[in-house]
Amino acid sequence: MINDPATSLAPVLRPAATVMDLLRLGSLSSSRLSFSRSLIRKMGRQRWQIFQTRFDLDEHGYGEVIYRIQTPYARYHVVIFSRELDDAHRSDRVIADAWDLTFGLVEGDVEDTLMASLSENVPLQEAGRQHAKLLVISRANRSVRNFSAFVDQLSQGKQPEVALLHSAGYLYRTTAVYGNGKFGIADFSKLKENPDFRTPFSAQMLAVYVLRQFSIDQVEHIAAHRRGAPISLSTALKRYVGIGNSTGLGMAPFLINHPLLINQWVHMRETALALAKQQIPDEASQQRLLELMARASASLAECTIEDSEQNSRNEQVVLELDSVQAWLSQVPAEEDLWIQLTDWADAALSLETQELINTLLIELYPDYVDVLEDSMATEETMDLSPDMPLVQLKQLIETHMDWTLSDELQSTDGRYWFWYRSIEKEEPRLGIRGVDEGEEKELALAIGPRVQRVHCAIEAHLAEDPRALTIDYLMANPRESDIVRRIQTMAGSAYGEIRANLWHRDMKPMHLLRAKLSFLGAQRFDPRGDRWVRVTFFQGAPLLSELNAEPADLNDFDDWSFALSSGTVAEPPRTP
């Protein structure tokens, strides 16, 4: 049963102190508000059509392929360049300069002169001068093991073993997906009036989604050449093929440098959760939640994750979900069932299980939640309030950024790391303070320590001049204008600041990466240490053929989270 929104009470959102804790952010799962999910929904709803217009690959799969995307408003093309790559040069790091393939999403048609320019520059990625008609550029490397095995087995007339995709759910993994004006491509501001790509990262998600189809088409093409006859992967297997992504520290600065955008994303997710918890459960929604739990649990159980710590976390989730399902299948659908469930989870279950349950609750109420996807973008202007009394600025810090004041910054552990950019492709790196080179060029990413320092300086200034204004302080401390502007702006936004000391020795950058990746729609988090992670996008998502067939049941079309290799939903425990 769904409450009438007109009579609903305003949803009660979780406090920022809970939500913005770095450990919790590092436990988020992607949800139906994630950008990959909302893109697929939109494409289905608006009847987008995507098909090949060029497929010039040799028998080894090298060459050029173009896919056309037709929306109700405009036409785009994804242009892919597949080139031979020596195994020794295959690297996922940003400092790499060659990849198995490179590709871009182009606005409009690809005439010959544009194709010539793309062919010359897209394969160079950062080193090229990219065309302004490109909305996205990216590159990808093969999962060598999966790609070879898929081609080998398919060329022998066999369907590849699905177990191959349990440890890496893809044939290719992207290593960076660039948008917003990078290296000469179109600015995001150009897309703000474009109804197709107003949602952040939707253009990037589309390019990655089309690449998934290419990976399937290319494997079938090479296998057919070897076999001397056409051969296809099964539909179930194609669906279970995703696109990987390998992400390092390069993603971390984004979360710190876009606090208003992060606030918007988290605010929408929290609103969705609060709306879901506010609904009165019935037997159907209870049963649906059990189904989703069973699927999520089975999906996690069948993944092979190399990282032992993440593996343990997944195993714990599976165990805890077993208990939750046992309980949920036996209790009546009381009005406050969702509150009972989340209260129990908060008190007794791991962070990862808590957030997975939240994700699944959000999944239950598309009528309320999906409208929020139109509010994932925001203006990111931060303005100074120079006439704010300085004592009020101090109060804002103590009220809204109190977590920064408790950071222990004097100890070696409390100020252990510093962040910097290397001259090698500006790769963000972490150095040990007092040990590694580059401290004098530290990036100001650790907001907590900066706010604490400003708080101390304000106290000193107020001791001299109790009636001072913010501008008086800044005229005396001009290098603090950006952090003061940030404090004043973010005091009005609950969820923009990640509550962690990014200098601390125990800080795990992995949590930052996972937070952003979950909003993009990543699944199967497989960390490589604490600064690198491999994930999968679009595993289980509908295929181009299903999209082009104009799905009649859009709810079914959208129901692809927590993919299972069997292609079917695991049988949940039945309600009594």
């Binding site: 990078k182 000469g184 491509i185 390092g248 520290l249 501008i471 950006d482």
Partner: protein
């Protein structure tokens, strides 16, 4: 070469940090530059001039307050670009105008004064009426007036040459900014003086210029871009096999 606005914003920010600006100062300066370019008002040419005059051996010093009361502030900018010296004095004038209805800021001895429009737009967007005046040259005497209505980020601009030189025509590299909380300060030319109107841009013209600039993208001289990159490199740390580990294993 053509570049995107985001590239210009990002690279100029890094370059300004490399030149010794604070992060906030660099961010404001990059915004000022991009604002000028977005309206086709020659931001890059002014930046080029600023870079030619800049030396790492003599980084910009902060402006010095010459006079200040509750309504008027006079600062000596020591011949540095407004990119480096104007944002906090303008915020001070904004504060005074909020409190007193009107304020005057005089920035003496500053360079690339037209770039100040980028920051004035921000103040106007926060509900302040703003007018700025400066002399572009002494002989012939040309003057420029820029006015923003409160809550509009698009100015009216008048550039004109005065036919009759005043007796006192000492070089004036200052800029005067008037901020009014409640009164429009848009420039209107008086007819009883002899002058040649060299340029007149009103909001509609500038919006059209902005639309053209957005379509055309930004064309930048390779030498200037390279110079920005060189300054930006000063923010980067040399790479070693040890520092590579600072990004994790990667593969």
């Amino acid at each position: 070469m053509n570049v995107s606005f985001n590239e210009l914003q990002s690279l100029s920010w890094k370059a300004f940090v490399g030149m010794g600006f604070s992060d906030g100062q660099a961010s404001d300066a990059a915004d000022m530059l991009c604002w000028m370019e977005s309206y086709g008002l020659g931001g890059l040419k002014a930046l080029n001039d600023a870079l030619q005059q800049y030396s790492l051996e003599h980084p910009y010093a902060p402006p010095e307050i010459v006079y200040k009361d509750t309504d008027v502030t006079v600062l000596d900018a020591n011949n540095v670009s407004v990119l480096a010296c104007s944002h906090l004095p303008l915020e001070l004038a904004f504060t005074q105008a909020r409190a007193r209805g009107l304020s005057v800021l005089k920035l003496k001895r500053c360079r690339q004064r037209q770039l100040i429009m980028g920051y004035l737009a921000r103040l106007a967007g926060r509900g302040m009426n703003v007018t700025a005046f400066w002399r572009n040259s002494q002989q012939p005497l040309t003057e420029q007036v820029v006015g923003f209505r409160a809550n509009s980020s698009v100015p009216s601009i008048r550039i004109y040459a005065v036919s009759e030189l005043p007796e006192e025509n000492k070089e004036n590299t200052g800029i005067t900014v008037i901020l009014a909380n409640h009164v429009d300060l848009l420039p209107t030319m008086r007819s009883e003086y002899q002058y040649d109107l060299l340029a007149r841009h009103d909001e509609a013209d500038l919006l059209e210029l902005r639309s053209q600039a957005e379509k055309a993208g930004i064309s930048v001289e390779s030498a200037l871009w390279e110079q920005l990159r060189e300054f930006a490199k000063l923010t980067l740390v040399a790479s070693t096999s040890t520092s590579r580990l600072g990004a994790g294993p990667g593969d």
